[in-house]
Symmetry: D2
Subunit: 93 residues, 4 copies
Amino acid sequence: MNGYSPEKDDLLKRLRRIEGQVAGISRMVDDDRYCIDILTQVSAATKALQSVSLKLMDAHLAGCVVEAAKKGGPEADAKVKEASDAIARLVRS
Amino acid sequence: MNGYSPEKDDLLKRLRRIEGQVAGISRMVDDDRYCIDILTQVSAATKALQSVSLKLMDAHLAGCVVEAAKKGGPEADAKVKEASDAIARLVRS
Amino acid sequence: MNGYSPEKDDLLKRLRRIEGQVAGISRMVDDDRYCIDILTQVSAATKALQSVSLKLMDAHLAGCVVEAAKKGGPEADAKVKEASDAIARLVRS
Amino acid sequence: MNGYSPEKDDLLKRLRRIEGQVAGISRMVDDDRYCIDILTQVSAATKALQSVSLKLMDAHLAGCVVEAAKKGGPEADAKVKEASDAIARLVRS
């Protein structure tokens, strides 16, 4: 059981759509399409991936972090540290 | 008492340094310095501001969110929602 | 002929690898893997997409924008405006 | 003469506003204001700095890069390489 279980179907649907977007970008490159049109699609796929990240992070905070906080102790601190590190990776990616 | 209280001095020192960086960028523009050199300084100030955000967010999770989670109830949910929204603003800024 | 023609094979290889990364993330979600491990992979795929964007933008500036600038006139202005808009989308995605 | 000369006043006005925003954030920290309210202001200042970057980059492309492209030769290549590197710093900051 993960924090994102209730969102699993939605996440899988988003990820499959992104996989299709990336395959579409490959076809555009293969067909020598105009750089700016390809860049527009890459930006759209990047934004879609970031939405997946934000959804996973929400679920993680509401699920795993809240659970650990209730128990308290070093595990709570570890979960918060781990979430903070993941947020830093998100902001810098 | 805020989550960031133990980090207050460090945060204030960082913010003053960023204020100085932004004042320095104004002087560079005023002196007609080369665009790319100015851009390099703006990127550095932007990164420094993002580090402040990440520090505040860490403190918020470890302090306010963990506190609220321990109490449980609707306040815990509200805190998590508020943190998630702030993370989304961070990622998109 | 596009600005990115000499990089076409490299771009296609990167895009196929990203497609594989996204498919791998779907499998991780399907297998109920730990949120933070999935988030790490989503951040990696996001960074890989941004590298594709930067590569396309380099090729666009060195190819299409430089070509248009040599000819001058309104087309040069239009190309610069279009590149600036694409950079703004990159920075904000 | 720089690419951004016609925008100099606007850039200086924006930078002074950002300096004020950062000073305001210091006061909020000093006054122990709520983390999320501070984070909202830091995100706003970060976005304002990114707008300055985008404005400088537009001016750089329309001015310095187009000038260099017209002359051609190794200087044109160097300007494009320099702009690409600055765009990469923008995207990753």
